[in-house]
Symmetry: C2
Subunit: 369 residues, 2 copies
């Protein structure tokens, strides 16, 4: 398999703006090209769009707006996991030799139709993700004797980290009491335990090893890929306190990159709700089952930004199709020692974890410099 | 680049049924698995869905319905060209080594949102495809001195061929007079000049060379791929009487397969409207500019099913996301000498041409046994 790297990226602030999907997409692609004027758009063989938006033909539209005439042009949707699905697809086009350079642009509006799980009849009328998050929270708290106050630390930590991220939706910091006193949504979930829908986009340009030599001063390589879908419906999940698809995807990505989890220096993980962060850290093997909150508390107390330096979905906001790409950009900046006041200690190897619909599917990527 | 073949396919009749997209998708996937009980679903690494339907997470849904737990799972949309975009993506996953076997299932309902070009403001209020087809028809007729009666032969031929296809939406045959007397939609277009929206699905299973040895008695290989997007908006087209994206995609696919167009024995081409068929044949190089109708008339008179043996989009109906896959299945059956009363004379090399939105993008595939 030939090497695939990331030659450039573009990003914009996540907001509650009511902008059209086309202009939202174009903003991060435009940021990418403005920051990298040396890129020859004629060399871009594919433009992949990651979104849950219902608009059609967005890849040719973004291509026309950006002055690109690609070979391959389409949109990719897999709910919240669309961004990393698009990155893996771009990887495969380059690795197979069908493309040398692929633009991946993800975008979403605050009112994305991907936020309601219309298709899952096993959920009855409970089609909003807060319901699966409530079940996960109740189950995780019971199994490992974790309190609501402890889970609230995830939100406190990630909002703290997001306050250092100029593109985050939320710049405010909160205390455990703030989280506990925020609006109660269900028995097990408060407003500040949840990531919030928003409008945003993010773009990256993947390239073959040959092209990387031409464009990238500080090349970042995708060295590990793991993906798994266990089901569509939540009721098919085999466990309510761990994430099977994340376990499998994580192990596959680590195997492919020839690393073990202890060698991961920095990670973006899919904290759609507070409870997700300890569950993901355990499922990826960062810590033993039931110890996720101890790890998170320790990182928070020592001001270590290792997990979700960007502020996670809870702090940054969650524009579905853009999230996986935004997570990837954070890891690129971390590996390039370019993350300003969010910078972790000279990381060499980073990981991205992106998932959909109660972890019924997950993608894990390993990036290295 | 490692070889990629087609191990199995499934298909269902195209209808005007009001079935849900999930059950429509499942029907052709189910047909595939029923006809090929030897396939081990555990070996399916990816499930790609081709559709313009607004439902989300369809790949995990079809996977769960079919008993598959894939690594890679997402939907792909590029309007009418979604089907072959999905096939090329599947090819790249296998060729790159990320997957060994990929299920590609395309489906659409008769009321697909991809049928109105909402995004193209250059068209003013004229957002239905019949308007670009009218402009193409007027321009083509003027440039090459072709009559409405001559163009009508495309519909007569393709309906005749569809009458031999048990899965076609239309089984009726028509005369040139019938086409001329059918409802006038615009100055240059009658109802029988148009392909019709419908409900349908089609599935194929792509596999690596290693897997093909295990499953396929009569293996078919994808030996040529060409894709091109020139723009999104129709007004950016450089010509109104030829199709630039089709020319480029066709040449690329032929180059990759080491064939020239005279070696193509049978082809499915994207006759969304009568005028498209001669324009495509000329753009692919089957005949010189302006001679497309002569070629079509000759094929029709000699009862030669070389072009659109399935009956084309005009005869079969056009369930957008399923069309490119259905075209590919027809070429597989032709190459396997399995096309019953539509069978052409022992073809060795076949071609598929699939496009979107006034040929602003095209895909061309070459298949060989």
């Amino acid at each position: 398999m030939s090497k695939v790297g990331i030659a450039a990226y573009g990003k914009i602030p996540f907001t509650k703006d009511d902008h059209k999907i086309e202009s939202t997409l174009h903003k991060s692609a435009n940021d990418l090209f403005q920051k990298n004027p040396e890129i020859d758009k004629k060399e871009i063989d594919a433009v992949l769009i990651s979104t849950n938006n219902n608009s059609k033909y967005l890849s040719p539209i973004l291509s026309e707006m950006s002055g690109i005439q690609p070979k391959i042009a389409h949109s990719i949707e897999s709910l919240c996991n669309s961004g990393t699905n698009s990155i893996v697809s771009a990887f495969s086009y380059i690795s197979s030799g069908l493309a040398d350079m692929v633009l991946v642009s993800g975008a979403e509006r605050y009112d994305s139709p991907g936020q309601i799980l219309e298709w899952d009849n096993s959920r009855g009328e409970f089609k909003h993700p807060i319901f699966w998050a409530s079940i996960f929270s109740k189950s995780y708290k019971e199994k490992y004797n974790i309190s609501d106050e402890e889970l609230a630390i995830v939100s406190v930590k990630n909002h703290k980290q997001a306050s250092k991220n100029p593109n985050a939706l939320s710049k405010k910091t909160y205390t455990v009491e703030d989280v506990m006193n925020s609006k109660k949504l269900t028995d097990d979930l408060k407003l500040l335990d949840c990531s919030r829908p928003c409008t945003g986009s993010a773009s990256i340009l993947l390239a073959s090893e040959e092209i990387m030599k031409k464009y990238a001063d500080s090349p970042i390589w995708i060295t590990g890929i793991g993906q798994k879908t266990t089901s569509a419906g939540f009721t098919k999940n085999t466990s309510l306190s761990s994430m099977e698809s994340t376990k499998i995807a994580g192990q596959s990505a680590l195997n492919m990159s020839n690393h073990n989890i202890s060698e991961i220096d920095v990670a973006e993980v899919h904290d759609a709700f507070s409870v997700c962060e300890p569950m993901i850290l355990e499922s990826l093997g960062f810590t033993d089952p039931g110890n996720g909150m101890d790890m998170i508390k320790n990182l928070h107390q020592t001001n270590n930004f290792k997990i979700n330096p960007r502020g996670g979905l809870i702090g940054c906001g969650h524009p579905l199709g853009a999230t996986g790409i935004s997570q990837t950009i954070e890891i690129i900046e971390q590996l390039q020692n370019n993350a300003e006041s969010r910078q972790t200690d000279n990381p060499k190897t980073g990981l991205i974890h992106n998932m959909s619909a109660a972890a019924t599917s997950s993608t894990v990527l390993v990036l290295e410099k």
